[in-house]
């Protein structure tokens, strides 16, 4: 019991203060868990077509080296009994197709690359 109290008091005496710079001024403070685990920003690659849900590829409707326009059908991904039509968000050429009909895909898996 006494040990427990000791360690608790010690924790209160020595909080893990960090330097926190805002504009040019530096503050001594604690950083929250949510702040420390915030996601680093990544520029979105619009040509990398990824699955937005796990499922099965039903059809692939383009071929490599084929030119595609914005909104053109690329493939059909079945998930939750729904046929999701994946279209191209950009105008370009199909550089590589990473899946074929019947493939099971995970979430965020790279399906098609358009350049």
């Amino acid at each position: 019991m006494e040990n427990e109290k000791d360690t608790k008091e010690e924790k209160e005496v020595k909080p893990d203060f960090q330097k926190f710079v805002l504009e040019a001024d530096t503050y001594k403070t604690l950083l929250s868990k949510k702040y420390l685990s915030r996601k680093k920003f990544e520029e979105r690659d619009w040509g990398a077509i990824k699955s937005f849900i796990p499922g099965t590829i039903i059809t692939v409707e383009v071929k490599e080296k084929q030119k595609v326009n914005v909104g053109e059908r690329l493939l059909v991904l079945e998930a939750m009994k729904m046929h999701n039509i994946i279209t191209s968000p950009i105008k370009g050429t199909v550089k590589k197709i990473h899946v074929k009909a019947g493939d099971k895909v995970a979430n965020h898996q790279l399906l098609v690359e358009i350049r």
Binding site: L22, A24, D25, Y27, T29, L30, K33, N107
Partner: protein
């Protein structure tokens, strides 16, 4: 039958209904570490104050052989009672009866007690412990939820509504607590989510436990859905009783006054708990305790967005709502979560005639791509909206730094604070001295023989001239620069003179806050 026989028959019927799901189901409930619905009501209300209604309500379902099933009280207990002599309407879902599932009559019992609370103008407490919609009753159970949500919304800001999550509360059921004022959760017992771990696994292939998905800690620390976190049901009961002591019966009343008590200024001595250097951390809750009656501060959402502190206290026996930046965490910045947290609390206090005391010590809004993309503009605007809209007495004390947009947002004169006080340590400026000097004296610094030396000199110059409360005081943006030890006296006086405050807002249906 004679009267005596009929009375015996009544007692027998009552006895049977009170058993709920029966001994076996109760045993299961206890094995999960939970109290029964009836025990919960009795623990919360004053002894012998509970009056139950609708004990003999029966479900009305016919499909799927439901007509052969008997569900005592249809899985929910409703009634009225008192907490510290304070009247309340209450319902508690009974998990021992068909898993506390919500069917048509179950919902009707709840909406009936909600209507009572609205007619009687007294608080409503809902204890949730339910597996969700009673699937066999189909669309009728959905109708039941809808009827509850509608009443929650209409009652919002009229009577206090308290939700206690003491078991699962999943799917649509979570929206009733979300629409109420305060949500209480208990570690390892409360579980809230829209779609459970099983659905998430089948749809997304992601595995997660109920606890990690929507346990009490998650909702207290991460989502902010819960306002009070307790280790046990007993502790939760004490928290509810304490909250009820701070709030009024309804929006036409003020909170009941409490016996006056002075704070413990020996334990919470400003000179010892407060560093005057704006870059040093301290716990602003200690400053609140140095001001509030009996040093009693009842914190709301203590684990969520800890860079702002909100909660109730009393000044000369009268309830006030404290909103304070917390320099201990993230230097007290405003960000998406802290703005959200404070704004809702400000609107609560305004709706229920609770004066607001704002303690300011912040370097501004938190910079970052994640913040900008999470909508810090939209969320940050909520705090401006809430303070501007509030018509209760608004007292602001600027303790140290009050920079930029943060200064404006924290109930400044410009958002119609009634009284703005500043400690001599206050620094009211567009930004921190280092940043400001870098910009204003950019040329002098870059052209100097020793730029670093010049920079230091210019920062010191700026600090001396602007890092104080007197520039703002000279414009009348601050009403008084005060000795920190006189803060309580100034606040009590401010509340006394604003007791008749009446502010006329222009007539409108309602504003459009940046939800």
């Amino acid at each position: 039958m004679s009267l005596k026989q009929k009375t015996i028959d009544l007692k027998r019927r009552m006895q049977e209904a009170i058993q709920g799901g029966g001994a076996k189901a109760i045993e299961k409930q206890v094995a999960m570490g939970k109290m029964t619905a009836r025990e919960r009501i009795i623990a919360l209300l004053d002894p012998n104050s509970f009056q139950e209604y609708d004990l003999f309500v029966e479900h009305s379902a016919k499909d799927f052989d439901m007509d052969k099933k008997h569900l005592p009280g249809d899985g929910v207990i409703t009634g009225t009672g008192t907490i510290n002599g304070y009247p309340v309407c209450i319902y508690a879902q009974d998990f021992t009866v068909a898993g506390g599932s919500l069917g048509f009559m179950h919902a009707r019992k709840i909406t009936k007690i909600m209507d009572h609370a609205m007619n009687l103008k007294i608080p409503l407490i809902g204890i949730n412990d339910s597996g969700g919609a009673r699937i066999q009753e189909g669309v009728n159970s959905l109708a039941g939820y809808g009827d509850i949500f509608y009443r929650n919304t209409i009652a919002s800001g009229v009577i206090p509504q308290i939700s206690v999550i003491l078991g699962p509360c999943a799917g649509g059921a979570v929206y009733s607590p979300a629409l109420t004022d305060f949500v209480f959760v208990v570690d390892k017992i409360s579980k809230m989510f829209i779609t459970g771990p099983e659905v998430i696994k089948t749809v997304l292939g992601e595995e997660i436990s109920m606890e990690a998905l929507g346990g009490a800690r998650v909702h207290s620390e991460i989502t902010g859905n819960a306002h009070f976190f307790a280790e046990s049901e007993d502790e939760c009961v004490e928290q509810i009783k304490k909250l009820v002591s701070f709030i009024p019966w309804n929006n036409t009343k003020k909170a009941e006054p409490f016996p006056k008590k002075t704070p413990n200024t020996k334990q919470f001595k400003i000179e010892e708990i407060f560093p005057s250097d704006a870059r040093q951390p301290y716990d602003v809750r200690n400053v609140i305790k140095s001001i509030a009656d009996d040093s009693d501060f009842f914190e709301v959402q203590a684990l969520f967005a800890q860079n702002i502190v909100i909660g109730f206290g009393r000044l000369n026996g009268q309830t006030v709502g404290f909103v304070a930046n917390q320099p201990l965490v993230l230097a007290g910045v405003l960000d998406v979560d802290s703005s959200d947290k404070a704004a809702r609390f400000i609107r609560y206090c305004d709706a229920f005639n609770i004066p607001l005391v704002t303690l300011v010590d912040l370097p501004g809004y938190l910079p970052g791509i994640d913040q900008e993309h999470a909508g810090v503009i939209r969320h940050g605007a909520k705090i401006l909206y809430a303070y501007s809209e509030a018509t209760v007495p608004k007292m602001t004390v600027i303790l140290r730094k009050a920079y930029g947009g943060g200064y404006i947002a924290m109930c400044s004169r410009h958002l119609r604070a009634d009284f703005v006080f500043a400690w001599p340590t206050a620094e009211i400026a567009v930004m921190g001295p280092e940043g400001a000097a870098n910009i204003i004296f950019r040329q002098e610094i870059s052209e100097a023989e020793n730029p670093e030396e010049m920079r230091k000199q210019k920062v010191a110059e700026y600090k001396k001239k602007f890092a104080n409360p007197y520039v703002a005081a000279a414009y009348g943006y601050i009403d008084a620069v005060i000795d920190p030890n006189e803060t309580r006296r100034f606040l009590i006086h401010a509340i006394e003179v604003s007791s008749q405050k009446a502010e006329n807002s222009p007539s409108k249906k309602h504003g459009i806050p940046p939800f």
